[in-house]
Symmetry: C2
């Protein structure tokens, strides 16, 4: 390999190649509504992984698959004993999800490596591209288990025993698609982790910015609520004395929705999932399960908000004679990124002429777990109309390209630091 | 055949045989929780029908299956040209339903015919026992289609094209279980229709009565509501500007629950079914479907109540920016039974020494449709704790027997009228 001729500052990625790569990848699991459905460890996930590995091989990367199915592709550094720079995201999607969430960060990283390769640019440190397994968590809860186990926050066996709605085990499905690797899923020392991703919210678009540099990721608290009532034929059962689990749940759902207005500070609270039993139009519901998702930059605020909610749930439960059971399913603390790397994202955006915004990430990402074991930063690009996790999820191609240019220079700078 | 020796007034059914018959039948589709699941046109429905027909054959009845799968068993009268007395109910059940709903009315009728047969009692008029297809409507909506088509209220082809949740057609499933008969499904002149059934409510038990004689069936209005919102990743989407379809639906569900307290008169209103999309804990719901069931003895009151609800739904829809679409799925007017037959039920209960109650039926029954084409009455027995459409649904065996004794004498009197 030879040095890139000319000032490295003028190096840019190939936006057209990026677009083609994204479009090829988005054919896998394509939905009628123009999105993709590539649930973790599904046949579509396998197909996306196979294609990804084919592209990694074209770059002569050293490929490694670990016991969680995380895929790493390593590009040698001049000083291969130096700790590497890692970048990537995930190839899995939500059910009827979009074409950008996750995959843009992997294909963007690929485009960075292709740009380095075609320009014969060597870096001091190795660069590793990564696809993390099951970031979405919509088939196997919870989310981000690949990076979670890798960073030491989750236990391999526990994740292996997670099941999907049809009762299939995570490990069995991982084996079935041929991606249970030999390599232990365990963190190794790294110099910097960059994750490039769509914003999944409306802020950048609203502020007319192209690059977002999140100072970190908000905390995330998940609860599962189980409400019990008494089933009866609806006609002959008087209203008095009913114990309607769905009515109790409906009151609780509205309390969740009102919660953010009751606390000072930024917080969002949502019920995304509800399951009603027996779910027959002429039977009073006797069992309802629903989820609560609370997020804030302020962990303490989120906990206090939950306390308010718990009290309200209890009052509703007693009033309606519908006992509830609460499971605290998942808690991730807010995660401030590495200040130096975040500043580097802002600096590169400015140098490249892209308007940028210092913000927070409302969504969880593999970067949350990576941040626990390595200096981490993220790069956001705008989501059109703020839409994400839906088939119409979209980002302008020029914004996609802009994000990869920022990623390229962040990586180059980190990878050439001694 | 010879006349019964002794006063026919002293004739009683065999309660022990009734219990055994009920227990044998309840093995078909038995659930772990002690109930039954015999969804219409399922393998379990077929098995129950086969057993029923075997028992009809033992009584040498003339068996007839019509194009809707309704099963008739005719016992000859002395004057076979006279219009017959019909009695029966349905063998299908709710998902995880009880062992008494429907089947008691068919097995009770069977016990009446067995009692007549073993005592060699002939009647002037023919007596027909019937099992109506798909009374429950939980697999194929709407309910009571067998009697609905027979009475001329529903169209055969329309019912044939109804599909279950997996897309299977009614007619295909009817053929599959071998119960699409040759005979046209069409009413013929009948003298009287009696339907024996559990109350499915708490009134008889509360009033300490054994026999209920409903003056008729309340009206029944079914609506399907479709709410639309905007899906988004929950974390990065601020609370302001959200269009959360589940929150809109939750508000509407509570309005349905509050409706009876807003109108004068007796009315019940229930949401039994809700389907939320995409039903993922980290996506704001963008589609919710739920059902509304309104019942009252007063048709006009039910319509006025719906008008109130519609206005409230519209206001919620506008406030939350969640458009709604309403389908008026089904409307059955309140149905007053034949006064003479209802009085006969009360008289026989008194003569037999069973405390009785003049009441209304809150549940729809095949008797609703039958009432449109023939003099009709029903006989109720208490539901323990008022529970029905659940696995713990229960009725004391002595109450079951009492109801069949009342049925026996009502039938004898009607069948011997010239």
């Amino acid at each position: 390999m030879k040095e890139f001729k000319g000032s490295i500052d003028r190096l840019r990625v190939n936006g057209e190649r990026l677009r083609q790569t994204m479009e090829t990848m988005s054919k896998i699991g394509r939905t009628k509504g123009g999105g993709v459905q590539r649930l973790a460890l599904s046949d579509e996930d396998k197909e996306a992984r196979d294609l990804f590995i084919k592209w990694l091989k074209e770059l002569n990367l050293e490929i490694l698959i670990d016991q969680m199915g995380n895929i790493f592709g390593k590009r040698k550094g001049k000083r291969d004993d130096f700790t590497p720079v890692i970048t990537g995201s995930h190839l899995d999607s939500q059910p009827k999800g979009g074409r950008f969430d996750g995959v843009l960060g992997v294909m963007g990283a690929l485009e960075v490596l292709r740009t380095l390769e075609e320009n014969k640019i060597d870096t001091e440190r190795p660069i590793i591209i990564v696809d993390w397994t099951n970031e979405e968590g919509s088939r196997f809860a919870p989310a981000m288990v690949g990076s979670g186990v890798w960073s030491g926050s989750l236990d391999t066996e526990w994740v292996y025993n997670r099941t999907d709605a049809s009762g299939k085990r995570f490990e069995d499905e991982l084996k079935r698609i041929g991606y249970k690797g030999e390599f232990p899923c365990k963190s190794f020392p790294i110099y910097a982790y960059y994750e490039y991703h769509i914003e999944q919210g409306p802020i950048l678009e609203r502020e007319n910015k192209i690059i977002g540099a999140p100072k970190g990721i908000v905390c995330l608290h998940w609860y599962d609520i189980y409400v019990e009532g008494e089933a009866n034929q609806v006609g002959p059962t008087p209203m008095e004395g009913r114990h309607d689990a769905l009515c109790a749940a409906a009151e609780m759902i509205l309390k969740v929705n009102e919660l953010p207005s009751k606390v000072k500070g930024d917080l969002v609270a949502t019920v995304g999932e509800i399951n009603n039993y027996p779910n027959s139009r002429n039977i009073i519901p006797d069992k309802v399960h629903f989820t609560v998702d609370i997020r804030s930059w302020d962990d303490q605020l989120a906990l206090e908000a939950w306390k308010i909610l718990e009290k309200e749930f209890k009052a509703i439960s007693e009033k309606r004679g519908c006992p509830i059971r609460v499971e605290e399913t998942w808690k991730v603390e807010h995660s401030p990124f590495d200040k130096r790397l975040v500043q580097r994202v802002l600096d590169n955006a400015q140098r490249l002429g892209y308007p940028s915004l210092y913000m927070v990430s409302g969504a969880g990402h593999d970067a949350s777990y990576m941040n626990q074991v390595a200096p981490t930063a993220m790069i956001f690009v705008p989501s059109i109309n703020g839409r994400s996790h839906v088939e119409v999820e979209n980002t302008k191609w020029e914004d996609c390209e802009a994000g990869v240019n920022v990623l390229l220079h962040c990586i180059l700078q980190s990878a050439n630091e001694r």
